[in-house]
C-alpha cells in the first residue's frame, strides 16, 4: 500500500482554501470545474525524494493474496516437499559459477528489483522485469544462476513484505524449481538444435513457458491447499494473463546467451541497463500516479468540505433571514394589526353612524388582513429555518409541521424513539424531507391519515411517511417536474449527497409511501 506522506500536495489545499472565500468559486468547485494542479513543488532534495519513492512505492503483478496462513497438513506437506526438492536439486546441480561477475550483477539486480518493487495503483499491472532476469541468469549460468536468482528474489520480497519464513520457504522452492525447469528446457532444446540461434530462440521461448507453468501451477496448488474452498478456475484465469509476458521474456532471454557469449559479463550487464531503466521509469510513473491519487483524494476531501461549508452557509443565511424577519417585519405586522383593530374598535364605540361604517369596514378588514399576513409570514419563517428544530429537537419540529395537516382534519401519527440522538445535519435533513413530503401531502394528497415513523436500523436513520391519499403516477411526476416543481428531486439529491437514499412508492388511488434512509454518522 502506497503511503508516502512526503508526496502530499499542499498547493491544492492552499488553493482550495483561497477559493473558499469566494461564493462563486465554491460553486465552481462543487460543480467540479476547478482543475487539479499538476506537478507538486517539494521541499526535500530530489535524491531523497527519489529514494523515499523507491523505498515506499511498489508495483507488482496482480497475485491472489495469500492472507494469513492456515497451516493445514496438506499445505505444510506440499511446501515441505517442494522446499526439500528445491534444496536437493540445488545441491545436486549447482556448481561453482563460471562467471562470478555476471552472477553477482544479475543476483544483485534481481534482489534490488524484488526489494524495491513498484506497484501501479489505479491500474493492475501484470508486468514485472524480474522474470526476465530470472530467465537470463538461468539460461546463461545454469543451475547456479537459477538458484541465485531464486534466493535473491526470495530475500528481496521477504525484506519488503515481511511475509514470514513459511512463505519464504515456498517462494524459494517455487522460484528455484521454476528457474531450474527453465534452464533444463532451454538446455535440451538448444542442444537438440545444436546451439543454433533458432534453437536458442525456441529454447528461450520454451524456457519461458516452462518457468511459467511450474511457477503458476505451484502457486495455484498452494492457494488451493491453504484455502480449500477457493475456486481454482479464477486463479488460473488470472494467471493466464501473465503468459504472454513469460512468452515474450522467454523469446528475449536468448539475447542474454548471445550477449554473454559475445562480451561476457559486460554483455550480460549491458542488457540489464534497459531493464533497470524501465524499472526506474515505472518507479517515477507510479510515484506520479500516487501523487496524483493523493492530490485527487485531498481535492475530493476539500471539495466535500467546501460543499459542507456551502450547505452550512446556506443554513446560516436561512437562520439570519428568519431571525431578521421575525425581529422586524413580523413584529411590525403584529403591532399594526393591533393598532388597526384598536382604531376600528374605538371608531365603533365613538361614532356608530352609518356614514362611518364603510371606513370601519376597511379598518376591520385591514386589521384582519394584517393579522393573516403575519400568520403567513410566520409559516414561511418556520419553513425557512424552523426554530423548533434547533431549540427543541426533531420530535417537536415534526409535530409542528404535522399540525397543519391536523388543522385541516387529517389524522396524524408520529413515532420517534425518545432516546434517538442525531447529528444536527442529519436531523435537519430528515426534517427538510419530512417538510417537503408533508407539504405535498397537504397540497395534493387529500389524505385522511398520515403517519410519520422514524427509527434507527443498523447505523441508519429510517424515516417512513405513509398517507392514504390519492397517490400519483410516474406521468404525474413528470408533468409536475416539467411545470418547474423540483422539490422531490431536490430532496432525493440531498439524501444521496450524504450517502443515503430516498424511495417513493405510489400509485393512483393507493396512497403514497416515502422512505428515507440516511447514515447516522
Amino acid at each position: 500500500m502506497v503511503s508516502d506522506t512526503s508526496l502530499s500536495d499542499p498547493t491544492i489545499l492552499s488553493q482550495a482554501r483561497g477559493a473558499a472565500q469566494s461564493a462563486d468559486t465554491i460553486n465552481r468547485v462543487a460543480q467540479d470545474l476547478v482543475e487539479v494542479p499538476g506537478a507538486v513543488p517539494q521541499s526535500l532534495s530530489r535524491l531523497l525524494r527519489t529514494a523515499l519513492a523507491i523505498r515506499r512505492v511498489r508495483v507488482m503483478p496482480p497475485r491472489t493474496s495469500l492472507g494469513p496462513v492456515r497451516y493445514t497438513w496438506p499445505l505444510v506437506a506440499f511446501v515441505a516437499v517442494a522446499s526439500a526438492g528445491a534444496v536437493v536439486a540445488s545441491v545436486l546441480l549447482v556448481r561453482a559459477p563460471t562467471d562470478a561477475v555476471t552472477l553477482a550483477a544479475g543476483g544483485l539486480t534481481t534482489f534490488l528489483m524484488a526489494r524495491f518493487a513498484v506497484r501501479s495503483l489505479p491500474v493492475q499491472s501484470s508486468w514485472s522485469p524480474g522474470v526476465f532476469l530470472h530467465l537470463g541468469l538461468s539460461v546463461v549460468l545454469g543451475p547456479v544462476g537459477a538458484v541465485t536468482a531464486a534466493l535473491a528474489e526470495t530475500v528481496g520480497v521477504g525484506l519488503r513484505t515481511r511475509n514470514g519464513w513459511f512463505r519464504m520457504a515456498f517462494n524459494f522452492s517455487n522460484i528455484a524449481l521454476a528457474n531450474l525447469a527453465a534452464w533444463a528446457v532451454f538446455s535440451a532444446v538448444a542442444e537438440f538444435g545444436k546451439g543454433s540461434i533458432t534453437a536458442e530462440v525456441l529454447g528461450g521461448l520454451s524456457a519461458g513457458i516452462a518457468q511459467y507453468m511450474v511457477n503458476n501451477v505451484s502457486l495455484a496448488l498452494v492457494l488451493k491447499l491453504a484455502s480449500p474452498g477457493t475456486a481454482l478456475r479464477p486463479i488460473l484465469r488470472g494467471e493466464l494473463s501473465l503468459l504472454p509476458y513469460s512468452v515474450g521474456y522467454g523469446i528475449a532471454a536468448f539475447t542474454f546467451v548471445v550477449m554473454h557469449q559475445q562480451a561476457g559479463a559486460l554483455g550480460f550487464t549491458a542488457l540489464l541497463v534497459p531493464v533497470i531503466l524501465l524499472h526506474g521509469f515505472l518507479i517515477v510513473f507510479a510515484r506520479r500516479v500516487h501523487t496524483y491519487e493523493e492530490a485527487r483524494a485531498a481535492y475530493q476531501k476539500e471539495r466535500e468540505g467546501l460543499l459542507q461549508k456551502a450547505v452550512d452557509a446556506s443554513e446560516s443565511e436561512r437562520r439570519r433571514i428568519a431571525r431578521d424577519l421575525h425581529d422586524g417585519v413580523v413584529q411590525n405586522l403584529a403591532g399594526m394589526a393591533f393598532s388597526l383593530m384598536a382604531t376600528a374598535t374605538k371608531m365603533k364605540h365613538e361614532t356608530g353612524t352609518d356614514g362611518e361604517s364603510e371606513l370601519l369596514g376597511v379598518l376591520e378588514r385591514s386589521a384582519e388582513e394584517t393579522r393573516l399576513a403575519m400568520k403567513d409570514l410566520r409559516t414561511l419563517i418556520i419553513e425557512i429555518a424552523p426554530p423548533t428544530l434547533r431549540r427543541e429537537g426533531l420530535h417537536a419540529a415534526l409535530l409542528e409541521i404535522l399540525q397543519t395537516l391536523k388543522s385541516a382534519g387529517t389524522k396524524t401519527r408520529l413515532e420517534l424513539p425518545s432516546n434517538m440522538r442525531l447529528r444536527e445535519d442529519r436531523a435537519s435533513l430528515i426534517f427538510r424531507v419530512a417538510q417537503e413530503v408533508l407539504r405535498n401531502v397537504s397540497a395534493h394528497a387529500e389524505a385522511k391519515h398520515v403517519s410519520v415513523v422514524l427509527k434507527e436500523d443498523g447505523g441508519n436513520a429510517v424515516l417512513s411517511i405513509v398517507d392514504d391519499g390519492k397517490g400519483f403516477s410516474a406521468e404525474d411526476v413528470n408533468r409536475r417536474r416539467a411545470e418547474g416543481h423540483v422539490g422531490t428531486s431536490a430532496i432525493v439529491e440531498l439524501a444521496e449527497e450524504v450517502g443515503g437514499s430516498l424511495e417513493i412508492d405510489s400509485a393512483r388511488g393507493k396512497g403514497t409511501r416515502v422512505t428515507l434512509v440516511v447514515p447516522t454518522e
Binding site: 403584529a334 403591532g335 393591533f338 393598532s339 384598536a342 400568520k375 426554530p387 423548533t388 427543541e392
Partner: protein, 134 residues
C-alpha cells in the same frame, strides 16, 4: 358605580407591538394598560411601581427573557398573573413558560377576540387559559 378595570402591564421589546397592544387593550372598557416595558428588567421595576393585575410578557426578549422575568416576578409577587406572548407556538416552549409560573400563553397572530377572551379568563382567576392560532 363602575367596576374597577383590570390593570395590565404590557412587556415587549418591540415598540410597535407595545403601542399596538396598549391601544388595543385600552379600548376595552374593563381593561386598563397601566404601563409598558421593553425588557424583563424593566418589567420587574414597573410591576413594583404599577402593581398590575396581569402582565402580558413577550417570551423572547434580549437580556433577561420572558421566562426568567416571569420566574422572578412570580417569586416576588405570588399573586401576579403572567400571560406569555409569542410569535411562534411550540409545545415545549409553552410547557417551559407554564413551568416558569405563567398562567397563560398567547400567540401574537391570534384572533383578537380570542386573545381578549383568554386575558379576561385569566384576570377572573379562572383556570389556565391559552390562545392558539386558528
Amino acid at each position: 358605580m363602575t367596576e374597577a378595570r383590570a390593570k395590565i402591564l404590557v412587556v415587549d421589546d418591540h415598540p410597535v407591538v407595545r403601542k399596538g397592544l396598549s391601544t388595543f387593550l385600552s379600548n376595552e372598557p374593563d381593561l386598563e394598560v397601566v404601563g409598558t416595558a421593553a425588557s424583563g428588567e424593566e418589567a420587574i421595576a414597573m410591576v413594583a411601581e404599577t402593581e398590575p393585575d396581569l402582565v402580558l410578557m413577550d417570551l423572547s426578549m434580549p437580556g433577561m427573557g420572558g421566562i426568567e422575568a416571569t420566574r422572578r416576578l412570580v417569586e416576588t409577587h405570588p399573586s401576579i398573573r403572567v400571560v406569555m406572548l409569542t410569535s411562534f407556538g411550540g409545545h415545549e416552549r409553552m410547557v417551559e413558560a407554564l413551568k416558569s409560573g405563567a398562567v397563560g400563553y398567547v400567540v401574537k397572530d391570534t384572533v383578537p377576540a380570542e386573545m381578549l377572551r383568554a386575558l379576561r379568563s385569566v384576570i377572573q382567576g379562572g383556570v389556565e387559559a391559552h390562545a392558539e392560532d386558528d
